[in-house]
Subunit: 314 residues, 4 copies
């Protein structure tokens, strides 16, 4: 149901806990008792084979939802598909190709790109036309090589770079349209959308309307940074609206979580998020749709407020 | 219970509706059926006497909570107590003195300063030491003239100036401490606190701990600007926490609303806000305090989340 | 060279000065001695004909750069092309058609839409798919009616609505692509871009690369709100980069200013902005392009910083 | 002249380069050729004595400006002086006491607290009154133990916690006043001030006016996060104003840099920052002070803009 492994990876990297090997991560995720699938970073730890991962997943009753090539670590600190040197760009493509193979072997639904180093930090640092061309062509070439595989891009306004190329839903969809391929779409992360100054529900609706929605992630933040708090910790109304649109568009895939419980037990953070999402989802399912649509048709903010208040606060 | 008049004033100024005279404003506020008191701007319309206002308030069963001298309009566009010219500073003092008299005649609890023009727009525009000295001395002199009258300052990070002197709770409390008077305190506006990057509940706790809390206002916004949305429209958790701290400190005065329903019927905005606050206040009153305090003593974010989730979402 | 009239309009509306009639606005703009053209709002004052405007422009040696139908005032407070009621949407279309005629008569280069009321304020307030459809279809229909006329949309993240549909460069370009017409493009306003969390130079490059750049406006702000400060007041490096990209793409039209000098003499604000832009433009023209491109090709932030420091600070 | 060691520490922690031992850090800092002093974290690497550090500093011709006890790493992830458990609070005090001894032995001017874990992440997580009491009493007790030693607090709005107690200049000065000791002051970091929505020059003026300014650090960011870019990379006008106020208050200590060049050579980042600051400092020294003061006395934004434009752009 969400990325448990990554929580533990960044947790460790930032020094808040010990490093956890890939297979142990999967076991911990399984032990949480709430998960049906995982977002798996590739490459795995040295010495761990695809079969090892497959067996551990099976043992925990988990699936690989998607494979995420690690194109955002130190080796790609100046970019992956947009790196200034061809060797690095080539390495990104190679990792993407390997990830396709891993995804096939593990039965994952898609390969996810999070090009968190593709961008810049200072004004004047890059030529924007070149950056754009490389960002689009790099992923386009991979996608064309595997027309039967689904790829998705997870956009984010910034971090670790101060400016990322795949910054907002609209910016990413525009670039994907320019790619001219059918098998690349978007991962809409509630928190990324929120701090990109979007309304997450609107971003979801947009990606869906273009047939480009591949996955949905949940978390929360203070609207300025990717704090990765537990889902619904702060923005109950916006999370309710997000889940309402998830229903409206008929989205059937399990929702993912994207959390970084620096100081908390990750299992508790997962359970608390799941409990909040379940409570909100029930409320979303019971919204008086006719009344809501009539209020929306009139753009009647106060009527809408009344409906939401009754739904949330009884 | 809140400032109905001001809603209508800015509503009108920004062109979203017709101008409403002072007395009519009071009647409209009374007609909403939810109010017990008003925040009254002074001067009143030309030709309207203090007695006229008193009678209209009485007829509506309303009280004047406080008098707010209008030291933030065009005539004070370069500042009130900090204006570069002495004549303008003198006018601010005169208006303050008159407001004291009006407050006494109407039985208002305090005189409120909202020095919305005291600040600057560009780097280098003012000498900060002079600005600070004038801001503090101007209000100190008024306060010393009327040691038996309560004064309060409503702080705000910006707007209409890009930078206001009375910007945050801490900045204002520090300046009030430097005044060296006992009869000047703070109005903590939930929305102002939110977009000043404070946590409103913490700001409330701070002002109270220093014995400087004079009044409390509610509204909501997107954390970047004083949007003055209906209370609880977005930040249910933070509003619940705010009401919880209101209870914890034993605050007994009626809460005020500070709304600007540009496109909405102000009576509906008031009713919707009141209904939301009542629902949240009931939930605040039923929080399991022992459990909550134990979780807070351990800084246990997940335990706290669980308590709040159960309180809000059932 | 920029919108002088609008400065004075909002100036007046917000109560910082007296109302100025259309024709007097043009005379004031001419008197500033720095202008070659104006962005004219339509309708004009009652009783003022197109011929009156034409004569006054001629007398001042000014041109009408573009006509901007006023689809953002009180009458359109719930939206223009996206208003919930058909009558209002029809009125927006009618005003657009009239503006085309006025633009032709005055020889203006394009008709500008600033759909500042097309959006929403609260979560759940609108159905996003409907909002999107109307926003796109409304302008598409106007554009198809006049295939030989150029139209442009000025995007802005928010204000007066808390959320505007035409929010960012990418969101607007994506919607324009979906329109499927050739004669609609973008006005990139430096300040709007800045507080939409874009890099203005990158937004400019993007709009140009798609053949959709129609006009360019300059101003400045604190990255959170449309403060409309004088150009270069705060962001000298970003303004220099913006002017550099203006040169790189071979943009030949005069640059526009979009200022709101609430407390300042508008003529001084214009002159100060022009002087700053001229100084920066000279520096932009003298950048060591080979060296800069080599640094950009390597994404070398420190080399770029050195070049910019030497250019700006000597 | 600045913290070279810390650059390399976080650099390493975040995986952008290899770990650098304490002594090697000092050698690298010396090799940059621009430094006169360092901000040294304590404890040092295991096996490194105070004498080892002293010798290495002497060999490089560097001084220890201040000692910074590491009260913000994993061991203090729930707080240092405000930690929920007494053992951790005790450890913070012990480290502070040791740091005083190290500072004396190395001749450092002051001991710096950066309580980056003292705060919270979620609403309701802590009792604000308790947090405040502990934050103030913890440092007060240390300061009273060593009345002849200078202590300073470096404030920051957030990171690593979402909310830090020592958040803004005013909040910190207010808490320091409540401590009731003379030997605790403030480090004003330009970047921290900027993204706390302060004006850095005003914060500097405030701290100085209260006799609480202990040190000054420079860097830059995009106003939303502690990006720690090279000084003057973005905010030339505000940096110039900051240096102008540094001169106005007669500040004589060397300025410090606080940079995190994740992808850049730290020596280049230091050199570029120093070159920019030197260029700006020369311009600050040549400002026409009489003219500037007259413009400031009149709050004349356009006159001030003209003076600054001429100073910066010639």
């Amino acid at each position: 149901m969400w990325t448990f492994g990554r929580i533990i990876d960044r947790y460790a990297t930032d020094g808040y806990g010990p490093t956890v090997p890939t297979l142990r991560t999967i076991e911990l995720a399984g032990a949480s008792g709430e998960l049906v699938g995982l977002d798996l970073n590739y490459p795995f730890d040295e010495g761990v084979s695809i079969d090892d991962v497959k067996k551990t997943l099976d043992a925990q009753g988990l699936k690989a939802v998607n494979i995420t090539p690690v194109i955002y670590d130190r080796g790609f600190r100046s970019g992956s598909f947009t790196a200034p040197d061809e060797a690095t760009r080539r390495r990104a493509v190679d990792l993407a190709h390997e990830s396709v193979e891993v995804a096939r072997r593990l039965g994952a639904r898609y390969v996810k790109f999070w090009p968190g180093q593709d961008g810049y930090d200072y004004p004047f640092q890059v030529d924007y036309a070149t950056l754009r061309r490389r960002a689009i062509e790099g992923i386009r070439d991979v996608a064309r090589n595997f027309p039967d595989v689904t790829f998705a891009i997870e956009y984010k306004l910034k971090e670790p770079r101060n400016r990322l190329f795949w910054s907002t839903a609209a910016a990413s969809l525009l670039a994907i349209e320019q790619m001219g391929v059918d098998n690349v779409g978007l991962v809409v992360d509630f928190g990324h959308s929120l701090f990109a100054k979007e309304n997450p529900a609107e971003a979801l609706s947009l990606a869906h309307s273009m047939g480009r929605l591949v996955d949905v992630e949940l978390d929360d933040n203070y609207r300025e940074w990717d704090d990765d708090l537990t889902a619904g910790a702060l923005h109950l109304v916006e999370t309710l609206e997000f889940l309402h649109v998830v229903n409206e568009i008929g989205w059937q895939e399990p929702l993912k979580l994207d959390l970084f419980p620096y100081r908390e037990d990750p299992r508790e953070a997962v359970r608390e998020s799941v409990a909040t999402l379940r409570a909100l989802d029930e409320k979303a399912a019971r919204l008086p749709l006719d009344e809501l649509r009539a209020a929306q048709a009139a753009h009647d903010a106060m009527a809408v407020q009344r409906i939401i208040r009754r739904s949330l606060l009884g």
